[in-house]
Each structure stands twice: as C-alpha cells, then as structure tokens.
C-alpha cells in the first residue's frame, strides 16, 4: 500500500513540472514582456531597461546549453525559465499588478471563502446525485426514472448563467428569501446565510449532469453477473441495489467523482462573481477584467495543484476501497 502511495505521489512530479512549463509558455513566452504593460506606452527605453533588470526580465528566456558546456553554471542557471520554476514551486508569486498586494497572501485569504462554497456544494450535490441515480436504477424504466432522465437532459441544456441571474433576481431580490450578495468579514456562523443561495444554485446546476452520469455508471454495474446471481438467489431488489450494487458501484463512482470537480471550479467562478464572495474564483474573474497577469498565472498553477490534490485523494480512497488496484 505504501509503495503505491509513494508511486502515485512521484507520478505527480513530472506533471507539476509540465504545468509550470505551460504557465511559463503561456504567460511569458506567448504573453510577452510585462515591462511594456507596467512601464506604460511612453516610458523611455532607459526606464524600461531599468524596470527589466529590476523585475528580472533581462535574463535569457531559456537555459543556454552553451553556458553549461563552457562550465558557467551560474550563467546557465540565470534564466527566466528557472526563475519561473523557482518562484512557482515556492509559491512566491510576486505582487498583483492591480493592487500591489502579495499574491500569496491574496490566495491564502481567498481560499477560505471558496471552500465554504465548493465543499458544501460538492457534498450535497454528490449525495443527491447518487441517491437519485440509485433510485432510478432501482426503479428502472419506471415513470420516475424516465422523468428524471428527461429532467436531467433539460437541466444540462439550461445555461448556468441564466440560472444564476434568475435565481439571484427572484429568490433574493424580489422575494427576499436570501441575502442578495456578500460575505461576512470574519469566518463564523453567519457564513451560512450568505453561502446558502449560491450553494443551492450550484447544486441545482450540477444535478442534471451528475444524475445522468451516475445513473449510467450504476446501470452498468447492475448488468454485472453477480447481480443476476443475487436476483436469482431471490434477494429482494432493495437488497440487491443497496447492498451489493452500491458497494461495488462505489468504486467507479469514486474514480469518476473527479469528473465533477471541474464543475466546482466553474461554479466557484460565476457564483463568486455574482454573489460577491471574495474567493479564488472572484479573484480570477477580477484578474481577467483587470488584465492582472501575475495573478492569472498564479491561480492557474494553484488551481491545477488543488485539482491534482483532489485526484490524489480520490485515488487513495479508491485504493482503500479496492486494494487490488495497488498491485498494478
């Protein structure tokens, strides 16, 4: 078991390097020199050069093999790619171009609010999706099942944006059932009040896709031999479903849970923006609007790390549920 975990973690290393490489390519190579942006259109060449040196952009973009061969280790190491790797992996992302605040600090303060939105949405959503999917499989082709199928397809066709706009305007605005927007300054019980409507909307938006997906997974499972055996043995449908099928379906469900996680990122983006929740999604939308390159760069990497973390956790859970996989 331990060796499996270690292998899994080691596997992440080339991926992380790859991600850092991608952010470098995107934001430095393709994106170009930030000096023009920061210094302004009419700065003199001299001022730009000075700024370049200050920010470290006078170094070559890529490591130069020539220097390595010449034995100039220091010169070889002084390039933007390595610099980017160094700052990325130590999570020292510099300062926001718009607000001059330390980006790491911004991320730290934004993580809490985002989590208070995504974690409940995830838990509630997952539970509802699996339960409904189970019920559908339990009563295959019944009116319930068919209605759910239709509703889920309708659900995934409605644009998320429209749902949020309507939800906020009517449930909060017109009818005053929930706060319209905002987030308390200090983390406490009042968070519930502000997070309620966005979470409910997020759950509603993801329900269609999730139910559809898990229904397929569970139905696939019900075709397995052991189910036929159990039925033949006379075990009641309920026992079959909840006793055997669910247990075994859990395996593919867990592995596929990661499919749902990206929705949490999207939800986080739109919900935070509309409801003024100062989380990472809001930070990203704000950075895009304000063309704040260092922030977008940082968030891309951090987002990927979070996602990989979630993948790792699911893999470990999967291993716990089905130890056979560790022998692979």
């Amino acid at each position: 078991m331990l060796s499996y975990f270690i292998r899994r973690i080691l596997y992440l290393v080339p991926i992380l390097i790859g991600i850092a490489l991608i952010t470098f390519l995107l934001f430095r190579v393709v994106g170009g020199d930030p000096v023009d942006r920061v210094a302004g259109r009419y700065a003199t060449e001299e001022q730009k050069e000075e700024l370049r040196v200050q920010l470290g952009f006078d170094r070559p973009l890529w490591p130069q093999p020539g220097r390595l061969l010449a034995g100039d280790l220091d010169g070889f190491a002084r390039n933007q790619l390595f610099g980017h790797f160094a700052s990325t992996f130590t999570f020292r992302f510099g300062r926001s171009e718009q607000y001059r605040r330390s980006i790491s600090e911004m991320i730290r303060s934004g993580a809490g609010p985002s989590l208070s939105l995504t974690v409940p949405a995830f838990i509630i959503g997952l539970f509802l999706q699996i339960t409904i999917a189970m019920l559908c499989a339990f009563r295959r082709n019944s009116r319930f099942d068919r209605t759910v199928v239709v509703l889920s397809v309708l659900g995934i066709s409605v644009p998320y944006l429209a749902l949020i706009i309507f939800g906020q305007a009517y449930l909060a605005g017109r009818w005053g059932l929930f706060p319209i927007y905002g987030y308390p300054e200090r983390f406490g019980f009042s968070v519930v009040r502000y997070v309620a409507l966005p979470v409910l909307l997020g759950v509603a938006a993801g329900l269609g896709a999730g139910v559809r997906f898990y229904r397929t997974v569970i139905l696939d499972e019900t075709r397995a031999d052991y189910v036929r055996t159990a039925r033949a043995k006379g075990v009641g449908e309920g026992g079959v479903m909840f006793g055997h099928v669910l247990k075994n379906a859990l395996i593919p469900i867990i592995t596929q849970v990661v499919v749902v996680i990206p929705f949490l990122f999207l939800g986080s983006l739109l919900l935070e923006r509309f409801f003024s929740i100062p989380g990472l999604g809001f930070m990203l939308v704000d950075a895009v609007a304000g063309a704040d390159w260092p922030v977008i760069n940082a968030l891309t990497f951090v987002g990927a790390v979070i996602y990989l973390g979630a993948l790792l956790v699911t893999d470990l859970l999967y291993a716990l549920v089905d130890p056979r996989v560790t022998l692979k």
């Binding site: 210094a39 302004g40 259109r41 009419y42 700065a43 171009e97 718009q98 607000y99 001059r100 605040r101 303060s109 409940p120 838990i123 509630i124 997952l126 539970f127 509802l128 699996i130 339960t131 906020q168 305007a169 909060a172 605005g173 005053g176 059932l177 929930f178 706060p179 319209i180 927007y181 905002g182 987030y183 308390p184 300054e185 519930v192 009040r193 997070v195 309620a196 409507l197 979470v199 409910l200 909840f242 006793g243 669910l246 247990k247 859990l250 509309f274 003024s276 100062p278 809001f282 704000d286 609007a289 304000g290 063309a291 704040d292």
Partner: protein, 593 residues
C-alpha cells in the same frame, strides 16, 4: 455502504441548514442593539488610502472619514464657507502674502494604531503636516497632486522634490525652508509667490497629515494601513469586498453645526444642532461593481443610500421627475442636486495621431450625439456642456454655447477630410480606454464606437479596472480615455488647472495638453487675488479649449440621490467627503422591503 450513509448525513445536515435560511433571514436592520451602523456601498475598488495619492472620488469617500485637513467647509451652509478644522483659526497672512502662520488645534489625536508606542495614538503636531507634504513632493511616490497644489509655490519644496530623484533613500528630516514648525502647534508656510488657492487646497483631502510612526512602521505598505485623526478608523483590510470602520476613540469633542442655509434647515437638517458627533458607531462598506446587485441591496435596505442605475430609473422616477409614490411609501427619499462636474472623453495630446490633428478631434466631438447619450445612460440627468467650467462655478457661461458640442455629422465628415489630409491618409484604428469592466461600461464603450463608426472611424475599446486605468493615465498610455472631474472647490481654476502644461502626467493634466498661450493666461489669472478679476481670463482660456478640443466634452451631471429615511442628516456636499460624522441612522423606523 457506510460511506454513503456518512455522506448522506453530512449532506442532509448542510442542506437543512441552507434551506432554513429563508425562514430566519431578514434583510439587515440596524444591527445589534444599541450599535448604530451606517451601510454604504462603493462602485469601484479603492486605489489606495495614502493621503497624498487620493485623487478619485471612491478613495476620497472612504478616506474622508479617516483623514482630516487643516480647513474644511461648513456642512450645511450655502454658499460654501471655509472653517478651521485641524487648524485652530484662519492663518495669519503676512503683508506680502508670502508667509502663512497657522495655529494647530490642540487636543487632536491620531487613532490608536500598533504603529504608536503602546498602541495609543498621540497628539497631532505641525510636523505631521510637513512630513505629509514632503511625501507628496517625493518623486518616488508619483503623487498626482503635487504639481497642482504646491509646485512652484513653497520655498524649498521643489528643490526637495529634485533631491528625492537623486538618492536611494529619502531623508524626510531634511529641512525645507518653506515648511517650518517653530513649535509643535504652529505651522509656518513660506511661499515664493502669492498662492491664491492655498486655503482651498488645505481643505482638500490629499493635504491631510501623516504620522511619522506610521510611516516608519509600514513604509511602502502605508497605503494599506491608513492612520488618521478623523472620526472613524479602519478595521480590517479594505482590499477585500467588505470592510468596516469604527469610531475613533481618540476623536476630539466636536459638535453638530448650528447654522444652515434656509432650504436645508427646512429639511430638518438642524435638529441635531449642538449635539456631540459622530453619532454612528460603525460604518460597513461593501464594494459592488455591478449596478444590479447594488440596486437590489439598496431596495432591500442593505445599504442606506444609492444613486439610481439607468435600468431602474423609470420604475423609480415619474415623468415629472419626482420620486414615485411606491418608493415614497417604502420610506425612500430623493435629493436632486446639480453637480459641479464635467464628464468627457480626453485625448492624449502627446499621441501623434490625435494630438497633432485638431480637425480630427473636432470631428469626433461633432459626431458624438450627446442628447441620446444623456437619455440612454443618464435618463436625462445631464446637460450638454459648454466647456470645462460647469454650472454653479463662478464663470459658467450658460448662453455661450460650444459649436463642437452640437451633433452635426455632416460638418464632422467635412472636418474628417481635413484631418485625413493632415494625417496623410485614412485615420488608423483608435483606442478608447474605459475605466470599468462592468456591463454598463461596456455599453457606453459600445455607444462611443457606434457613434464614431457612423463618422467612418474605427475604435478599439479597452476596458480596465479603475486602479489599472489610473496607472495607465499616470504613464500616459492612453490614446483616448473616458473620465470626469468633480470640483474640489468653488473656483473655475480647479478645472482649468487640468490643462496647464506643467501639470502633465503624472499630474492631473491627464491629456498632457500644453499650449503656451493658454499657460500664459493661466499664470496671469492665478496671480490675481480677486476672484472676480480672474473670470474674464477664465473665459478666454475656455475659448481656447473650445476651439482646440483636447476633450470631447460630454455632459454636466445632475445628481439624483436616494436614501432610506432612517438615514438622517444626509445631504450631498460638493466638496466635503467626510460627512458621515454628521449622519445618524434611526433604528426605530421599520426597514423598507
């Protein structure tokens, strides 16, 4: 199986929690028992709260509750009258007008802050002003305010400014001849020539004092840690979307004014005369950049006052421009006021394409349909302007008219031909910078683009957040930009200084306009002590600007301010930002919903 049960329990608990919210949630009342809370909203992020760099209304709205200045205006008196605030009295001015001796009020304390020994704010001294103004002069701080306030006036300060460019670390103890403190409560300013607007500037927020201890402790981060003498102090980080202010325990004893203009007295604004202020215990600020949630929040009573977004205007204001009965029934009140402001699209005169092509600028000004703009985006709350001098400012000429602020597409096309000759070919794609990324900003940008495309010009619109926009202005990166200017004091010079050559970026002259003829008139005007005498010169300057068109003058604004009647003592003041200390929020009235 067990996993699912655990998941289920947690999920159902959470779900129950969230679904119960509608039953317990009531839109915000006045908060906890006995605590008076004022709820305000900001439409943009604050750029920074370092006094010398406060240059926009958003930062001023917040900073005005924290910082104070030597002089201030009487809240309720019209016409506007200056009063001593941090100064004990009006300055003693020498015969030649070159020396100002200002007594500093005693018993004024900075708010408590970790920067002070023991965390206790200390008493204000004259040195705190000297430090603040040296910081404004410091080139490394890139203050937009220095050139219009002190440059060329204070003995030794310009030299100090030059010195700051040469050294790595600026020594703020270096004496400046024109700023002295013979004793802790006397401030002496020595000028090299008479400054006819100094008193107005000393009532302007950027001249607020700065405590040395705060500077030493926070350094560059001072912009995030404001320490002032005002009635409120900041708690928490204002960089997030919500932050609060609480009473400054060290605030001196100050009383609500007992004099008011007649029409204000009639509104009941003198009921609290003579009482000790502030009444409010806490201010809750929320930043909400989109119009829709802000409006919803106001209707629900979550914020006390608001403007009216264009999309909600017709539901709220009747055709005779009064508040609808439905709104009145909900306890909402309206104040209409003319605003000494001008909104415009500025050209960066240093840009070769627009700066050196007058017919092009004039053509674009003629191609912009202001009346439709005012109808569509302002619901008629604006007037087609003459020039930079707005109504309510002495020197405003109503009948004068401006040939280029009319809508005349044919004439515009003719001028465009001239422009193309100058340019030696068709005009390239032009760039407009808009200070906002929300939907309304986009619609306004689109409108400009549509108008210019009817003329035959192609426009690219860049949408920027307010901080980014200001930064770009400082570095002269705009080509065409949308902006407005609200008067700092009741003199037209405050508008005309925006065109004075030496005030170019990073000064307030964002269009970097530079015209020797104009500059000469400007210098002549500001040397005159009598405001009446200045006016004819102002008119000549305005005439030059009308012809030269460094701005597309768009509109003068009219304010429609709404507030819940639980908010009392509320009245807009054109120059004063720190008015929350006069306001009161009543808790015995029901919330409007």
């Amino acid at each position: 199986m067990k996993l699912w049960l655990i998941l289920g329990v947690v999920a159902l608990v959470l779900l129950g929690l969230f679904l119960s919210v509608p039953f317990f949630y009531r839109p915000a009342g006045v908060g906890e028992e006995g605590v008076m809370v004022r709820r305000a909203a900001l439409g943009a992020k604050i750029r920074g709260l370092d006094p010398h760099d406060i240059g926009d209304t958003t930062s001023a709205a917040v900073g005005g509750q924290i910082f104070e200045t030597l002089y201030t205006y009487a809240y309720l008196e019209r016409p506007y009258r200056l009063l001593p605030q941090l100064a004990e009295d009006f300055p003693e001015i020498s015969e030649d007008g070159l020396t100002y001796t200002i007594p500093i009020r005693r018993g004024v304390y900075f708010a408590d802050d970790p920067a002070f020994p023991g965390g206790e704010g200390r008493e204000l001294t004259a040195d705190d002003f000297i430090l603040a103004w040296k910081r404004m002069a410091d080139l490394n701080n890139r203050s937009t305010n220095y050139s219009s306030i002190f440059a060329g006036y204070v003995e030794g300060l310009d030299e100090f400014r030059a010195y700051t460019a040469e050294v790595d670390r600026v020594d703020y103890d270096l004496p400046v001849a024109g700023l002295r403190a013979p004793d802790p409560h006397t401030l002496e300013i020595r000028l090299v020539r008479p400054h006819n607007f100094l008193l107005y500037w000393l009532a302007h927020l950027p001249t607020a004092p700065v405590a040395r201890e705060a500077l030493e402790k926070y350094g560059e981060d001072l912009v995030n840690h404001p320490v002032g003498t005002g009635p409120f102090r900041l708690v928490g980080n204002y960089r997030s979307n919500r932050f609060s202010m609480v009473r400054n325990e060290n605030f001196r004893r100050e009383l609500y004014p007992d004099r008011a203009a007649e029409e204000l007295a009639e509104r009941g604004l003198l009921e609290d005369a003579g009482r000790e202020i502030p009444f409010i215990d806490r201010i809750e600020w929320t930043v909400i950049e989109e119009a829709q949630p802000l409006w919803l929040a106001f209707l629900a009573g979550k914020i006390d006052s608001s403007g009216i977004p264009k999309d909600n205007f017709d539901q709220v204001i009747t055709t005779d421009r009064e508040l609808s009965p439905a709104m009145k029934a909900r306890g909402i009140r309206l104040i209409k006021a003319e605003d000494p402001s001008i909104f415009y699209y500025g050209f960066n005169m240093e840009d070769p394409v627009v700066g050196e092509n007058r017919p092009l600028r004039q053509a674009m000004s003629l191609a912009f349909d202001r009346e439709t703009y005012i109808e569509t985006f302002l619901n008629g709350r604006g007037m087609v302007p003459t020039g930079p001098i707005p109504p309510m400012i002495p020197g405003f000429r109503e009948e004068k008219g401006n040939p280029y602020t009319r809508y005349d597409l044919d004439r515009a096309r003719g001028l465009l031909e001239e422009a193309e000759e100058i340019a030696g070919g068709p005009i390239p794609v032009l760039r407009l910078a808009m200070p906002g990324t929300d939907t309304t900003a986009r619609q306004m940008g689109e409108y400009f683009r549509i108008q210019m495309s009817r003329l035959g010009l192609e426009i690219e619109v860049d949408y920027m957040t307010w901080p980014k926009f200001q930064d770009a202005a400082k570095t002269r990166s705009h080509q065409i930009f949308s902006l407005g200017w609200l008067a700092d004091y009741p003199d037209a010079q405050n508008f005309l200084l925006l065109f004075y050559g030496p005030h170019r970026s990073p000064g307030p002259n964002s269009s970097n306009y530079s015209n020797p003829e104009f500059d000469a008139l400007y210098e002549e005007a500001i040397a005159l002590a009598d405001p009446e005498e200045r006016i004819p010169l102002y008119h000549r300057m305005e005439d030059i600007l009308i012809e030269d068109c460094p701005w597309i003058f768009t509109t003068y604004r009219v304010i429609y301010a709404l507030y819940h009647d639980r908010l009392q003592n509320y009245y807009p003041h054109d120059f004063l930002y720190g008015t929350m200390k006069f306001q009161r929020v009543r808790s015995d009235l029901p919330d409007s919903l």
